[in-house]
């Protein structure tokens, strides 16, 4: 069954390897106006710990393949004129882990939802007219300065279904049809306007029985609330960004939107999920501090009426004001491990409920209502590249650690080998650990550590 279903993909992979193996230039058509590129990729992950009861994903045992996803992505850019360009990105994928596990272990709805993908993820036109830049169509918009957690990067909802938050976010953001306008007031000051006029998409969660199903026994996949195409379900935001003096960048933004994560809601028809509107107001900064050769960056957001499920409330929803910030520092540093510099990056995140009632509204802590009103998280990242160890290859080890100060965390040591122009192979281990009382951002996944191999062949 799997063989038949995945046949088309592997044929394509072999064809690409054979035909596109030489170093070359861009694939172009129409006298160079249309440029195409893309990649083939396969990621295969294996569970490395025995499952605990009650956290979800229990049917995958230690040593079992829980992800075996193959992708083909194609990107095209058509240059109509120097000031007008059309861009599109399509991705197809197939997750063979369903076949490995046996289709009988999943509902038909989950298989149909998650096993295959065939989607135009972005399709937009860029227009430049003097200082005005317009991007119209299905797109991703990224604001903010943070890595690993999103404070300002809230415009596109995420797709957590197939590898939770462990992918590059550009690969799990859901494109939204939007109007994005950037007006360069001066070379140092931009005004930006973002409007998603009629569409709201909630975040997507893995289905029941899958490895990354939402934590909590029996909950399984969170039902996706469908919102109609209506101006009542749109979102709108604006940002002003400027550089003060020589190199101090600041921005202020306001984004009015539906909360992408669902909250339980008690209605006349029973329990439902809802995505009430939130107003997120915030700012960012970055600067290079020359005496210490370090980039400092930060980000803050003030959420007005951020919703959270609270079963002590009559309608199960608590809407509270929250504030969160991130401070980060990046410094390329020579370490005695390499003649190339190593990148060291650290961040601290803090979030607080400003009007705490009998609940919490956190980054994602699983604390019971009323247990706490503030959360602190730390992250660290170290990487370097070895360009001389292996002929024609670049070896890049890295380690990323995220730690919730309550006592849970996530660490990812990763080793990437880039061979030639086209081939990239990564070996990595995602290690999660949780608090003894089952608390903290990462605790719900504390038994879902995994090892994976990620092979990517890109062509252009």
């Amino acid at each position: 069954m799997r063989k038949r279903a995945g046949q088309w993909f592997w044929m394509s992979l072999v064809a690409a390897m054979l035909i596109g193996s030489s170093s070359g230039y861009a694939y172009t058509l129409l006298d160079g106006s249309l440029e195409l590129k893309g990649y083939l990729r396969d990621i295969t992950a294996v569970r490395t710990e025995d499952p605990k009861q009650g956290l979800g994903g229990e049917q995958f045992k230690k040593g079992e393949v829980e992800l075996s996803k193959s992708f083909l992505q194609l990107e095209g850019t058509y240059t109509v004129s120097p000031d007008v360009k059309v861009y599109t990105r399509w991705r197809g994928s197939y997750d063979a882990s369903f076949d490995f596990k046996g289709l009988d272990n999943f509902s038909r709805a989950v298989i149909d939802d998650q096993r295959q993908e065939n989607e135009v993820r972005e399709l937009y036109v860029d227009v430049r007219k003097g200082p005005l830049f317009l991007r119209l169509g299905k797109q991703q918009v990224v604001w903010g300065e943070s890595d690993g957690l999103r404070l300002a990067d809230i415009i596109n909802p995420l797709d957590f279904r197939w590898h939770y938050f462990l992918e590059d976010w550009q690969d799990i953001r859901q494109g939204l049809p939007m109007v994005r306008a950037i007006y360069g007031v001066t070379p140092k000051t931009d005004l930006e306007f973002v409007w998603s006029p009629v569409t709201f998409k909630p975040s997507k969660w893995a289905g029941k029985g899958t490895y990354w199903e939402f934590p909590g026994a029996g909950i399984g996949g969170l039902p996706e609330k469908n919102y109609s195409t209506s101006v009542n379900n749109g979102s709108v935001g604006a940002k002003i960004k400027t550089t003060i003096g020589s190199g101090f960048d600041v921005s202020l933004y306001d984004y009015y939107h539906r909360n992408e994560n669902p909250s339980a809601e008690l209605t006349d028809a029973g329990l439902d999920f809802a995505h009430p509107y939130v107003n997120s107001i915030g700012g960012t900064f970055n600067t290079f501090v020359d005496p210490i050769k370090t980039v400092l960056r930060g980000e803050t957001v003030f959420n007005i009426n951020e919703p959270q499920t609270d079963f002590t409330k009559p309608d199960f929803i608590a809407k509270q004001n929250t504030i969160a910030f991130m401070l980060g520092a990046d410094r390329p540093t020579y370490l005695p491990i390499n003649s190339e510099s190593s990148m060291l990056s650290f961040q601290v995140f803090y979030k607080k409920v400003l009007n705490p009632e009998s609940t919490t509204v956190m980054f994602g802590d699983s604390a019971a209502p009323g247990q706490k009103s503030a959360q602190t998280m730390l992250s660290g990242f170290i990487t370097t590249s070895y360009v001389y160890l292996i002929p024609n290859a670049v070896l890049t080890p890295s380690i990323f650690v995220f730690y919730d100060t309550i006592g849970s965390g996530w660490a990812r040591p990763l080793l990437n080998l880039k061979y030639g122009d086209n081939l990239s192979v990564s070996l990595a281990y995602n290690k999660f650990w949780g608090h003894a009382d089952g608390r903290g951002y990462f605790d719900p996944f504390s038994d879902r550590s995994e090892a994976y191999i990620d092979v990517k062949y890109s062509f252009q």
Binding site: W8, Y25, L29, E145, W169, I182, P187, K188, S341, F459
Partner: protein, 395 residues
Amino acid sequence: MKKYQQALFAIAVAAFLMMPRSPAYSAEDKSYLGGEVKYSITHANVEKYKDRLPLGLYTLIKDWGYKANVYDTVHDYEFPKVYVEATEKYKGTARVNKDGGLENYTAGLPFPDPKTGAEVMYNYEYKYSGDDFFWTTYDIEGISSTGKIKLIKGYYKRLAYQGRLTINPKPVIPNSEHVELKEISGILYPEDIAGLALLTVRYQNAKKGDDGWMYIPTIRRVRRISVAQRGDTFGGTDFTWDDYRGFSGKVSDYNWKLIGKKEMIVAYHPLTNNPKTIGKFLDPDKARYELKNVWIVEGINKDKDYVYGKRRVYVDADSWAVSANDLWDKRGSLWKYNETGLTVKKKDHVMFNYYQNMYDLIAKRCSLAYNAILKTNIGLTEEDFSTTKLQELTR
């Protein structure tokens, strides 16, 4: 997926992969083709010419089997009249301060009669290059010790804030931060780093480091970065960020020593901007060497952790462009040799790196930058070097 859909899909993929790739870009200027080889320097006779060769070139010929064909020396570079007039007008005003920075410079050649290594390097920095210039494309081939090849395709553009002579505003783009220049360096190939673009702002203040913003495709953001570590390799090639164009570091980051002015055999007037490689080096018959007067300067970076222990720079006395570099590691071993295939773009009065080679003499590998197309004075503005412009790249 149904069978006919699978078939259609496979056909579409195959058709896509078999599409013709864009051809190599052609050179703009081939006015210096031809000429007779006066003599060739090979392994057999290299000792005879040792004193006239950059140390790296001597090593290449002696140990790698390279050959240097020496042609008649041609002096065909002339500064534009407006630059000569500015040099005369502002002669004697510029000076190097105690921090190694340049002060009181307005336009033209800062030091027509240099007395120090720093003055030679500032003459290189402010040689005539137009008020802006744009390498619309270039390629870098990496040739490893096993002969495998990888390719990077990129572009580079630069805007001068000082010494402007052609495009308004002149001679300085007014700004309160005392900017010296802005540049954008971007990658077009391979796919996994295509779209990467770095905006750098360099200041006149010797003590103020460069500012950098990079658009990183995988995170789809313009990210503020530290560009302090300019000794890191450029995209995994043998070039560092400071090796661009022969030298692209900040002059004041080094302590310079003037070795002298001497006739040396250096690459000049190459026969093509698209040379082929033979084994691990450039096809010697596509290169051309001439006996030229060069200024020889040695520089040691003030950062003790800097990747090179020392660089010896050979600066062409006609044009003040860099012809070659010998580069030592921190243990004092000769590590790399950098050769720029300078040619003259007469119409624009600029020197043009037809190619640029970086040979790693220890690891026995090289990177060859070529296929460049150069445009100057095209009217680039501050808006072209803003983070707004980088944001347009965001996908």
